[in-house]
Amino acid sequence: MSSVPFFVAVNTFRESVRDRVLYNLIFFALLMMAAAVFVGQISIGIERLVIVNLGLSAISLLGLVMSVFIGVGLVSKEIERRTLYSILAKPVRRWEFLAGKYLGLLLTLAINTALMTLGLFLALLYVNRTIARADAPILQAVYFILLEFALVTALALFFSCFSTPMLSTLYTLGIYVAGLFASDLRDAGALSSSGAVKAITSVLYYALPNFSNFNVIGAAAHGDAIPFSLVWQNTAYAGIYILALLLAASAVFSNRNLK
C-alpha cells in the first residue's frame, strides 16, 4: 500500500489549518449554537427540536460550502500556482496525489464536523442538563452528513480535474441540487404519458447522486430511531458512487497536460 496519499493528505490538512479555514468555521458554528440556544429559550417545550434542527442544518450547510469551494480548488490551485510541478517530479503517481488531496479535505471536514457536533451537544446539554439515549440519532445524522460531504467533495474534485474552479462550482452545486430532487424527478416522470420522458427521468434518477437519502435531520430532531439498514445502504451507496467518481477523476487527471 502506497503511503504517498497519506503524506499528501496530511499536507492538505495542514494547509486548511494554516489557512484558518477551521478557525473561521468553528467560530461561525459557535455563533450558530448560541443562536440555537437563544431560539430554544423562546420556543417553549420544543427547545431540543429547534436546537437539533438548527445545529444539524448549520453543520450540513457549512460543511457543504467547504466541500464545494475547497474541493474545486484542490487540483486547480495546485496547477495554477505550479506547486504541483515539484511534487509530480518526485516518485508520485497522479492518482496518489489526487487520492491524497481528497483524503486531506475529508480529514479537514471530519474534524470540522466533529467539533461542530461537539458544539451541538454542548448546546443540548445546556438546555436539557443531560444527554439522553434519544440523542443517539443525532450522531447517525452527522454520519450521513459526512457521507454527503464525501460525495460532494468527490464530485467537486472530479470536475476540477478538467474544468475551471468557477465552472466546477456550478457543476457541483447543480448536481447537488438536482440530486436533492432526484426522487421528485422520477415521480414527475412517472406521471407523464410519454415513454421518452419516463425513460429520461428514470435514467437521471439512477445517474444522479440521491442526496435526499442522506437527510435524516428531521427524524434526528424528533428523536426517531434511524434503522441500521439505512446506515448500511447509505454507506454502500456513497462508497460506490465516490469510488466511481475518484476513478473517473484519476483517469482524466492522469492524461491531462499540465500547462
Binding site: 504517498v4 503524506f7 510541478y85 515539484s86 509530480l88 517530479a89 516518485p91 497536460n257 500547462k259
Partner: protein, 319 residues
C-alpha cells in the same frame, strides 16, 4: 559505451488551440540529442523557444505528441525513475504556508528515508543552500532568491543522479547567481549530471561542458558553447580619461565616444596595442580594457531573424 544520462528521440509536442481545439501549434519539433553522464549541460534558447516544454515533457507534466525520451535508460513514463532525478521548476512557487524545513521534510517523505536520515538531510541541505537561519520561516516571507535556493534544496536532497533546473539563475541578484553557480559546480564535482535551461550567456560560459540551442522549438545545434555560438571577440573597449588641455589623438577620434565624463574607444583586437600607445602619448589615464563579445541575445536574434515563422512556436496544419 555507457548509457547516456538523457536521450531525446524525435521528441515532439503540439499544443491544440482554438474553440474546437482542432488547430495545433508545434512547441517542440523532433528534438534528438543526448546528454552524457556527469555533464553540466546548458539548454539555451530565447523565451518561448520550447525549453520549459522540454523539461515538462521530461518530468511527465505534459505528454509528447510523438517521439520519446529516456533518463538513465528509463522511459520518462516510468514514475519510479523519478527517484533518480531532481527538478527545479522555473520561478518556483511552493506551499507558502510551510516553512523551509517543513517543505524539505515533505519533499523527503516521498523517498524511502528513515526518520533520522530525513531530519539529517533536511538540516544538511538547508545549510548547503544557506538557509539555516531561515529554516523555520514560512515561505510566504521568502524573497525570490531564497525561494530559488529552497527550490534547489528540494531538488537535490535525495541525492539524484540527474538534476534538471529550469532557469535557475533567472531573476537573481549577482550574489544569488554566484551561489547557484557554486551549487551547480559542486554537483558536477560529485559526478552528477546537471541539465539546466538558461538564456544567460555568462552562466552557460562558466558552467557548461556542452550546450544545446533551441529556437522556435527546433534544435539549432549541440556542442561546446564555442562551437555552437562561435563566440569570437568582436572588438576591444577601452575606457580612458584625458588630463585638462589634452585632446583625443586624431587617428583615434573617429572611434571615440564620450562616456560619463570619460571616453570610450572601440578598436579591433589587432589594433589594441597601437591605440593604447597613442593614448599614452596623449597622457590618457586608462580606466579599463574589455573584450566585446556578441551576447547570447545577439545570437538568438540572428537565428530568429533567419526564421520565417514566429520564433516562439511554429503553427502546423491540422490533418
Amino acid at each position: 559505451m555507457s548509457t547516456p544520462a538523457i536521450e531525446f528521440e524525435a521528441l515532439t509536442k503540439d499544443y491544440a488551440f482554438g474553440f474546437w481545439r482542432k488547430r495545433t501549434r508545434r512547441a517542440l519539433d523532433s528534438l534528438t540529442f543526448q546528454v552524457r553522464e556527469g555533464e553540466v549541460f546548458g539548454f539555451l534558447g530565447p523565451n518561448g523557444a520550447g525549453k520549459t516544454t522540454t523539461l515538462k515533457l521530461l518530468m511527465g507534466l505534459i505528454f509528447p505528441t510523438s517521439g520519446t525520451a529516456r533518463i538513465r535508460g528509463r522511459s520518462i513514463d516510468d514514475v519510479e525513475m523519478h527517484r533518480e532525478i531532481g527538478f527545479l521548476p522555473e520561478q518556483p512557487y511552493f506551499y507558502d504556508y510551510l516553512t523551509a524545513r517543513e517543505l524539505l521534510d515533505y519533499s523527503a517523505r516521498f523517498f524511502k528515508f528513515t526518520e533520522t536520515d530525513r531530519r539529517e538531510r533536511v538540516t544538511k541541505f538547508l545549510e548547503r543552500v544557506g538557509l539555516s537561519a531561515a529554516a523555520d520561516v514560512q515561505l510566504r516571507r521568502f524573497s525570490k532568491g531564497m525561494l530559488q535556493r529552497v527550490g534547489i534544496a528540494q531538488a537535490i536532497l535525495h541525492d539524484p543522479q540527474v538534476i534538471f533546473l529550469d532557469e535557475p539563475t533567472s531573476g537573481l541578484d549577482p550574489v544569488g547567481r554566484r551561489e547557484v553557480r557554486e551549487i551547480i559546480l559542486d554537483l558536477q564535482r560529485q559526478g552528477r549530471t546537471v541539465f539546466f535551461s538558461t538564456h544567460i550567456l555568462p552562466d552557460a560560459e562558466v558552467l557548461c561542458d556542452r550546450v544545446a540551442v533551441l529556437v522556435g522549438g527546433k534544435l539549432q545545434g549541440v556542442g561546446t558553447l564555442q562551437e555552437i555560438v562561435s563566440i569570437e571577440v568582436q572588438a576591444m573597449e577601452v575606457l580612458f580619461e584625458l588630463p585638462a588641455g589634452r585632446s583625443v589623438p586624431t587617428a583615434l577620434a573617429g572611434h571615440v565616444t564620450p562616456s560619463g565624463g570619460a571616453y570610450r574607444l572601440d578598436v579591433p583586437e589587432a589594433e589594441l596595442y597601437d591605440a593604447i600607445s597613442q593614448l599614452r602619448a596623449a597622457e590618457a589615464q586608462i580606466l579599463s580594457v574589455t573584450q566585446l563579445k556578441p551576447t547570447l541575445e545577439d545570437y538568438f536574434f540572428k537565428l530568429v531573424g533567419r526564421e520565417t515563422a514566429p520564433s516562439y512556436a511554429v503553427e502546423v496544419a491540422h490533418k
